[in-house]
């Protein structure tokens, strides 16, 4: 619905036996958008991709691209092209013939096909490798050939199934940037499946987080990180501290919460997607970098009043040096809480510690 629905998944359902691989999935993408499907293995992201490609027929719902409903359209007639996790390059064909494979199927005239293949080789810096066979290429090169093979057919939507997961860490980061730049140049609508959140956050315009076949949140990386809508997303994206608490009262914008050891914490009610009622069990989520260490001198001379209101005391039980930052492990209300600081010099292992956090940086979810 709406003008931004270039790719529209409506109520997609896929069952394997009694299990729902995908459950009532609604997802819309704008033309030229780079969307990541992110989730742990078995969350249904790959199944979703395969339903868009037409490899798997959905048990319910529909896939539409550019206003055209694709139910029952076989993969070779869909305006999509997929880059496989293991690339699936034809081992008995040279790079050129691999790239030209789709063009021969489309009956593109030889001369024009040749030009398009050469253009692809150039675009992906594969000029020197046109006559090699896939097993003579490195993983990164194979990945680029697979991409070229898909791009040359000029699909309306490019699908990628964990295309970087078979590469080593350095290569992954390099290709991430390359893919992103290529996407900017071509403006091709892209659906990208990954279980690597760093990949998703760094590449996507929007990320669809999935778990157990259901869409959890569909938002920009920034929103996903700072405003997770539920406990799963808060826990799955980045490092987060989850503390059980009870809702005490709601007064204006202030949400007053009591930790299990009796300490009081105030959250900003305007920031919440879920507002508890007094007496409800809840979970607080706070990013490690939003927890600040207060100087031991007591109620401070410095800092803003909001921060000073939230004072959480705990016991330091460990410290990790992580290069750019230092992570302190603090025991609060029988839970371990991480505190990340960039300034790492000259702090002894004080046993007692007081932390503060801005109310607007606390997210509240229904507790178990």
């Amino acid at each position: 619905m709406g003008p931004d629905a270039y790719v529209a998944l409506h109520g997609l359902i896929k069952r394997y036996g009694d299990d729902h691989a995908v459950r009532d999935l609604h997802l819309e993408m704008a033309e030229g958008e780079f969307v990541c499907l992110l989730g742990p293995s078995g969350c249904g992201k790959t199944t979703t991709l395969r339903m868009i490609a037409g490899f798997v027929e959905p048990d319910g719902g529909s896939v539409a691209i550019d206003g055209r409903e694709l139910s029952g359209v076989p993969p070779h007639r869909r305006p999509t092209s997929i880059v496989f996790q293991d690339y699936a390059l034809f081992p008995h064909m040279t790079v050129r013939r691999n790239i030209g494979y789709g063009l021969r199927a489309q009956r593109v005239p030889a001369e024009q096909a040749r030009r398009r293949i050469e253009a692809m080789l150039e675009l992906l810096a594969l000029e020197q490798l046109g006559d090699r066979y896939p097993n003579q290429l490195s993983g990164g090169q194979q990945q680029r050939v697979a991409l070229a093979r898909s791009l040359v057919t000029e699909p309306k939507v490019l699908l990628m199934d964990e295309p970087l997961s078979n590469l080593d860490a350095k290569m992954r980061i390099r290709l991430r940037t390359e893919l992103r730049q290529l996407h900017k140049r071509l403006g091709l609508t892209t659906v990208y499946v990954t279980h690597d959140q760093e990949e998703a956050l760094s590449m996507a315009d929007r990320v669809a987080v999935m778990d157990r076949g259901e869409l959890q949140q569909y938002a920009t990386p920034d929103k996903l990180y700072h405003q997770p809508v539920n406990r799963f997303v808060a826990d799955f994206i980045g490092l987060n501290n989850l503390l059980p608490a009870r809702c005490e009262s709601i007064g204006g914008d202030d949400l007053l919460l009591v930790l299990d050891d009796g300490q009081l914490v105030t959250a900003d009610a305007r920031e919440q997607t879920h507002l508890p009622k007094p007496g409800d069990r809840v979970l607080l989520s706070m990013r490690p970098e939003n927890l600040k260490r207060l100087p031991p001198a007591g109620p401070g001379q410095r800092g803003d009043p909001a921060e000073r209101r939230n004072r959480i005391s705990g016991k330091v039980i460990g410290q990790q040096f992580l290069g750019a930052l230092s992570r302190t492990l603090v025991r609060v209300a029988d839970r371990d809480v991480f505190v990340d600081e960039y300034e790492t010099s000259g702090r002894g292992l004080a046993n007692k510690i007081t932390l503060s956090v801005q109310p607007s940086r606390i997210r509240v979810f229904p507790g178990s």
């Binding site: 790959t46 293991d86 081992p91 008995h92 789709g102 097993n135 194979q142 898909s150 078979n166």
Partner: protein, 524 residues
């Protein structure tokens, strides 16, 4: 221990093989090269091998392709049908062809009233196709199973229909496998002795000719020459496989297992395949049924009344089947022990000439049975080890003939275990034999069981090599069947063949029961 294995291989594999080359004198060679009749025999062999190999490989491919697709109905049944000829004596196909389509055959004579003669090339061609297509199925299933479904899906995604993918992806990728399967089938067909003996009639082939030279003319020198002639194409096959296929084999570059299902086959393709497979399977069922029917018929083609006397005569009174079973059990056990030991000591112990030993262990699999039989006859008739006419030589032959497959399965089991494990056992102070017994053997139990049952099945059905070595006291069922069939005792011959199959099937059923169906003899 290493020395014992090396000694065994040298004495029973290398020495006889070398003898085949040394035995003929120049006069034998001259006679062979100058004989137009023997050249004709060689040409016959070539033509028959070529035709049967092509048809068996194509049929095998159809089966293997269908078995690799999840959407072909009746796969379990077809799987059984394509294993059946592997576990029954190959010559039962020839036997039943005569019963069904021979001069007094059930179909040709009784039902159609024809006076058709199946003896000769067409009959032999048909028989060898049915008897050996399972070899191609076995070889090709692995090849097709290893093809990543993602490749076909990629073809689909890039705009090709089923036929387009089959033509540009599936088939080209299977070409090295097809060639390899073809070579394997070719070697089996070339070396086969039982079927040509039964149905070739006047169409002489090398294996039968060599047998006649030994048994009919008693001219071992000439027989050895024919063996060498038989070995030349075998050698070429081997060389071809090594040099050409190694270069063309496509290392599939995929990393992870794909969770994709194979691309569905369109309905017309699916039902065509189903039809072809059903027709072949029906024909095979008819074949086996005719053997059992023959065993229960008083006089095939003359008196169709039902009787049990053939069974009584061959299975209960004559000792052939008992001999076959007993020898096969002994050979199977010894072969499994030797195979697993050989795999361990050749692969894992420091050894000079490791690759030579490895080759000797698999060599008997590549040599035609007729050749090995004649080689042993020449080697062990006189000289330091004169053991012809004993039961020992028969059992030894069975062991050596089954060794290559057992050895290979031992080697592949070892490859899964990883050297660090037995290294750590040694590090803790265990000697070679102790390491083997306490660490490796338990882990290789599966390989051992598989080697045992394979050797048993092969040994009980073996014919071409042992036919030169049996004597009146050590008569085997497979050899007796040939003799009975040659003289037209169809009832007795089929009864014995039926008995042989029943024992084999019983052994396989027992094996399945013992291993709980976990160990598969054939990866299909």
């Amino acid at each position: 221990m290493t020395l014992v294995i090396a000694g065994t291989l040298v004495v029973f594999v290398l020495w006889p093989a070398v003898n085949v080359f040394l035995r003929p004198e120049s006069e034998h060679w001259a006679r062979f090269l100058g004989s137009a009749r023997l050249w004709q025999v060689a040409a016959n062999t070539g033509l028959m091998t070529l035709l049967s190999t092509v048809s068996a490989t194509v049929l095998g491919f159809l089966f293997a392709y269908a078995l690799s697709r999840p959407d072909i109905p009746g796969k379990a049944f077809f799987r059984v049908m394509s294993v059946l000829p592997l576990v029954s004596p190959p010559f039962v196909i020839g036997l039943s062809l005569i019963l069904l389509f021979g001069r007094r055959g059930l179909v040709t004579h009784e039902l159609l009233g024809l006076n058709l003669d199946v003896y000769g090339l067409p009959g032999l061609w048909a028989v060898q196709t049915i008897a050996y297509y399972p070899v191609a199925v076995l070889a090709l299933s692995g090849v097709l199973r290893r093809q990543s479904p993602a490749l076909e899906w990629a073809g689909r995604d890039l705009g090709r229909n089923w036929w387009g993918i089959f033509r540009t992806v599936t088939l080209p990728l299977a070409v090295p496998g097809l060639a390899s399967a073809g070579l394997l089938v070719g070697m089996y067909v070339l070396a086969d002795f039982g079927n040509p003996m039964l149905v070739a009639g006047s169409y002489r082939v090398l294996a039968v000719e060599a047998y006649q030279q030994v048994v009919g003319v008693f001219d071992p020198g000439m027989a050895a020459v024919l063996c060498v002639a038989l070995l030349v194409p075998t050698g070429l096959f081997f060389w071809f496989q090594r040099v050409w296929l190694e270069r063309r084999s496509y290392v599939t570059v995929t990393g992870k297992e794909s969770t994709l299902d194979p691309v569905p086959t369109p309905a017309p393709v699916r039902w065509t395949l189903f039809g072809v497979l059903s027709a072949v399977s029906a024909f095979m069922l008819l074949t086996y049924a005719s053997v059992f029917a023959g065993a229960l018929t008083k006089t095939w083609g003359v008196n169709w009344s039902v009787t049990l006397e053939h069974f009584e005569y061959t299975v209960l009174r004559a000792g052939d089947l008992a001999n076959s079973t007993l020898y096969a059990v002994i050979a199977g056990f010894c072969c499994a022990v030797l195979a697993v030991l050989a795999a361990f000591f050749i692969q894992r112990r420091p050894l000079i000439g490791r690759s030579a030993m490895d080759m000797l262990a698999v060599l008997p699999g590549a040599l035609p049975g007729t050749m090995i039989g004649i080689a042993w006859l020449i080697t062990f008739h006189t000289g330091p080890i004169a053991i012809t006419g004993t039961a020992l030589i028969v059992v030894l032959m069975m062991i050596v003939r089954s060794l290559p497959v057992g050895y290979r399965s031992g080697v592949s089991a070892l490859q899964q275990i990883g050297p660090s494990l037995d290294e750590s056992a040694q590090d803790l102070g265990a000697g070679s034999l102790r390491t083997f017994g306490t660490v490796m053997l338990p882990l290789m139990r599966t390989a051992f069981t598989a080697a045992f049952i394979y050797a048993f099945v092969k040994s009980i059905n073996t014919l071409s090599a042992v036919i030169f070595l049996v004597s009146p006291g050590t008569q085997l069922a497979s050899v007796s069947i040939m003799g009975l069939a040659e003289h037209g005792y169809w009832g007795e011959a089929t009864a014995l063949a039926a008995g042989l199959m029943l024992v084999t099937f019983a052994a396989l059923a027992l094996f399945r029961l013992l291993t709980g169906g976990r160990v598969k003899l054939f990866e299909l």
